[in-house]
């Protein structure tokens, strides 16, 4: 065997030692340093192994620190990477980038950020996927038992449109300095569109979002003691909401209060099981018409701003039994 085969079916860059060294030169880490054990096989990922897989995915050297930070974040215990990679559910670690590195390496936070057309966006997520597959063993139908999977599993990485957001970006909300670069990983499904071309008020737009998020078929409807619903607002929607004086905290509170599903609509569906199985025990005695939230608390909602012109927002349903993790990206 002389060449490495592609894990995802698309062509790859062969990881020559020279190319791998170019990535290693961009991080102040020993190549042999163990980043962590990657499930589901719990094999050790060294910095070099991460670099080899990142080269294969087409990752530019300046983006490699983002891959490493995202990998480390996803290996935190509360993220539940073991479950997220092996599950039949179509979740996968999605990556949100914040801070100066967005402009420094050219991530797309604007138009079509979730789509094709930008190397940084396309390859950071792909690098992670390669590491999960080649190191962790999350190979379809053996270590990764997704029933259908989804296109985001080729890799999903976007930047937050901080310049056009009326609020603090995600990493600042989580206690980091605006001048720090950070990455957040969320075990979630591919996003679903939220179209609202006519609402002129904050309540109007967030109600449309809430109604799009509270549906009985997501894991969050049942497995929501830890899960975080992730709302990605377009800059235009965010601007309309902020124009009414709403803070991000107000958006989350409104979502918690209104993104609800009546008990009668959950009974007998999804993962409803009053003995457990992920069904929140706190809901057990709820009357049929009680409206139940899709998260444990308002703080569990993640709200970011990404995208270009247009009155379209997005919703990522979560795996459910997972918590997102934010890590800084060393300069």
């Amino acid at each position: 065997m002389s060449e490495v085969s592609s894990p995802d079916g698309l062509p790859i860059i062969q990881p020559t030692r020279d190319k791998v060294n170019e990535l290693l030169d961009h991080v102040d880490r020993n190549a042999d340093e163990v980043v962590g054990k990657v499930p589901p096989h719990y094999q050790e990922a060294t910095v070099q192994l991460a670099a080899v897989n990142s080269v294969m995915a087409g990752c530019a050297p300046e983006c490699f620190p983002v891959v490493l930070a995202a990998l480390e974040a996803s290996l935190e215990e509360q993220f539940n990477l073991y479950g997220a990679l092996a599950t039949t559910h179509p979740c996968w670690p999605s990556v949100v980038v914040n801070g100066p590195i967005i402009d420094e390496v050219g991530f797309n936070a604007g138009a079509n950020a979730y789509g094709q057309g930008n190397r940084a966006n396309a390859t950071v997520g792909r690098s992670l996927t390669f590491i999960y597959m080649n190191v962790g063993g999350a190979v379809p139908n053996t270590g990764d038992k997704a029933t259908q999977g989804g296109p985001h599993k080729f890799g999903l990485c976007v930047a937050e449109n901080e310049a056009e957001s009326p609020w603090d970006p995600l990493h600042v909300e989580r206690g980091y300095d605006p001048d720090q670069s950070a990455v957040t990983v969320v075990a979630s499904e591919a996003p679903h569109n939220i179209n609202d071309h006519i609402s002129e008020s904050a309540a109007g737009i967030v109600t449309t979002a809430a109604r799009s998020m509270a549906v009985p078929g997501t894991n969050l409807a049942y497995l929501n003691e830890r899960g975080e619903p992730h709302l990605v607002l377009s800059p235009e929607h965010a601007s309309t909401i902020a124009r009414d004086g709403w803070t991000k905290k107000d958006v989350k509170q409104f979502l918690y209060d209104t993104a609800r599903i009546p008990m009668y609509d959950l009974k007998g569906r999804g993962m409803y099981d009053e003995k457990g199985g992920g069904w929140p025990k706190r809901f057990n005695n709820a009357a049929d018409h009680t409206e139940l939230p899709i998260a444990e608390s308002p703080e569990k909602f993640i709200v970011t701003v990404t995208g270009g012109a247009g009155r379209q927002s997005l919703f990522h349903p979560s795996f459910g039994d997972t918590e997102s993790v934010t890590r800084t990206i060393p300069e």
Binding site: S2, T16, Y42, Q48, T88, T142, K145
Partner: protein
């Protein structure tokens, strides 16, 4: 223009392996088994998947009817998609052996294997029940986490859309109950002979391919 031939240029390019080195010891954390089932107390441990308790009660009734054993009421963990608590492992460790059910999806099978490995490591013989679609996943995970030979007893998939009565009558068969009972008394070496590679023998082990630093 280089004077090197294509072959000479190719040999100068070193390609690195994207796969981890196999650093496992080859040993297994499997616990020693029981001398016999006579007088043994068996814990029925549900991962909280729907009907896992009915499945376990069916197995438990067979055990009590055919062996001189006692079984517990079903002990539940909080949620199938995460590990059990340390307190629960301690509780389960008070019994002679543990029967765990069941793996019938990706994340629940994975965390069920994890729970079983914690118990085996603590010296508690454990059996994992898993549906046919998920035994390969469970076995890969057990073998990569230093528990080759973990007894994974297979039953027909699917199970989630069966009634509790059908779970007992169609999935809890004498064969799987006898197999589970046998795994609790066989020595670990014999379990490795029986279960190592059992469900994954026809699957390509990508990371085991001899690769290293190759040239093109």
């Amino acid at each position: 223009m280089s004077n090197q031939t294509i072959d000479e240029r190719s040999e100068a390019v070193e390609i690195l392996s994207p796969y981890p080195e196999n650093t496992g010891s080859g040993d297994s954390v499997l616990a020693n088994r029981l001398q016999s089932l006579d007088g043994a107390s068996l814990a029925l441990f549900s991962n909280n998947k729907l009907n896992a308790d009915h499945f376990l009660n069916g197995v438990g009734e067979y055990m009590e009817a055919h062996f001189d054993t006692s079984v517990t009421d079903v002990i539940y963990k909080n949620v199938a998609t995460s590990p059990a608590s340390d307190e629960l492992y301690e509780t389960l460790g008070e019994y002679d052996a543990v029967l765990v059910a069941y793996g019938d999806c990706g994340s629940c099978s994975s965390w069920t294997v994890h729970d079983a490995i914690q118990l085996e490591t603590a010296g508690v013989p454990t059996v994992v029940f898993c549906s046919t679609e998920f035994t390969a996943l469970a076995q890969f995970e057990a073998e990569k986490q230093e528990c080759p030979g973990l007894p994974i007893v297979e039953f027909e998939h699917p199970i989630a859309d069966l009634t509790p009565d059908a779970v007992r009558s169609k999935r809890v068969t004498p064969d799987i109950c006898e197999e589970a009972a046998e795994t609790l008394t066989l020595p670990p070496e014999r379990l490795r002979e029986l279960y190592e590679g059992r469900y994954i023998s026809d699957i390509d082990h990508r990371e085991d391919v001899s690769f290293g630093a190759c040239t093109i």
